[in-house]
């Protein structure tokens, strides 16, 4: 019998679109803030936060997979 795969940590299925959506959402929020208050700084902040979010998501995934490895 093949071992059962634990799907509760199947986050890598969604990581690609999560990162892309995160970048989009943060950048768009920054863009909206710039439209309201003028300037271009908020878009840059949004892009930066999008990058932080992406890095954070990847870090979480790596940590989760490492924990899984330690268990087995």
């Amino acid at each position: 019998m093949t071992p059962k795969i634990d799907k509760s940590n199947f986050q890598h299925v969604s990581i690609g679109l999560n990162v892309a959506t995160g970048m989009f959402v943060f950048s768009y929020l920054g863009f909206l803030a710039d439209k309201k208050w003028g300037g271009q700084a908020w878009t840059l902040v949004g892009i930066l936060l999008g990058l932080v979010y992406s890095a954070y998501e990847i870090w979480k995934l790596i940590r989760q997979l490492n924990d899984q490895d330690k268990k087995t």
Binding site: K4, D6, K7, S8, F10, Q11, V13, S14, L17, N18, A20, T21, G22, V25, F26, L49, V52, Y53, Y56, E57, K60, Q64, D67
Partner: protein, 255 residues
């Protein structure tokens, strides 16, 4: 043979966008009331079909399931054991199985309906997928509050093993992450279904545009159509699995 006056873009958009008309062959277009669009009608059709399928065709009293019961039971058991119980644990998984079964069969039904002529793909409408993802989001928030209490829900949003100053950035990001995950869930299903249908209609539209020269495009369209059947099942599965995973993460946060 070629039809230069044919507008391919209009043809594709007419087939993939929502409307208040249901065009049937040899009949005048059926005008739908203002509160009911074509995609909403498809939702009702699918719901009615699922009710008929599970109330009349699913025979629970069978000691040894056969026929339709056997087919449906294989899916239900798969969702219960491989998705719900796997992501949420034995107790919560069994409790939440009806929700995930509903997600799976409803999305699968809507996806497959889009491949049948005369019907339209409701899942290629972002409002439908957003509504489905909102159900997941409400379970991620209110379900988690109901299960773990408000403080338990807040604790789930605070990552462990991180220095306190970094939490000032990470906690708001984690809160926004809830919405981003749901948004990604919406876009994933919507984009996959819409893209597949646009490809099919673009290839078929070439025949009208270029005549017999584009006949090989029909073979390609048929190939994409077969791939779409796989995509229908895959997307229903992915949506259900990710919903279960996201809800499971909020119900049982990692420490």
């Amino acid at each position: 043979m070629a039809n230069p006056g044919f507008n391919l873009e209009q043809y594709i958009m007419h087939h993939v966008t929502n409307a208040h008309q249901w065009r049937l062959p040899f009949l005048p277009p059926l005008e739908l009331p203002s509160f009911l669009s074509l995609h909403a009608l498809m939702l009702f059709f699918c719901a009615a079909f699922l009710i008929v399928l599970f109330v009349f065709c699913f025979n629970k009293k069978d000691r040894v399931p056969h026929g339709m019961t056997n087919l449906l039971e294989a899916f239900v058991v798969f969702i219960r054991d491989d998705i719900a119980v796997n992501c949420l644990g034995e107790k919560d998984g069994r409790k939440m199985t009806p929700l995930f079964c509903t997600f799976f069969f409803f999305i699968l039904g809507l996806n497959l309906m889009g491949l049948i002529p005369l019907f339209s793909t409701a899942t290629a409408n972002v409002n439908v997928t957003a509504a489905l993802a909102l159900v997941t989001l409400s379970f991620m928030i209110f379900g988690a509050i109901y299960k773990n209490g408000f403080m338990g829900f807040v604790k789930a949003l605070v990552p462990s093993g991180v220095p306190a100053p970094i939490l000032i950035i990470l906690v708001p990001i984690e809160v926004l992450g809830l919405f981003i995950k749901t948004f990604a869930l919406t876009i994933r299903l919507f984009a996959n279904m819409l893209a597949g249908h646009i490809v099919i209609f673009a290839l078929l539209g070439l025949v009208v545009l270029l005549g017999f020269a584009a006949l090989p495009a029909v073979v390609l369209a048929l190939f994409i159509y077969v791939v779409e059947i796989l995509v229908c099942f895959l997307q229903a599965y992915i949506f259900t699995l990710l919903s279960a995973m996201f809800i499971g993460q909020m119900y049982h946060p990692a420490h």
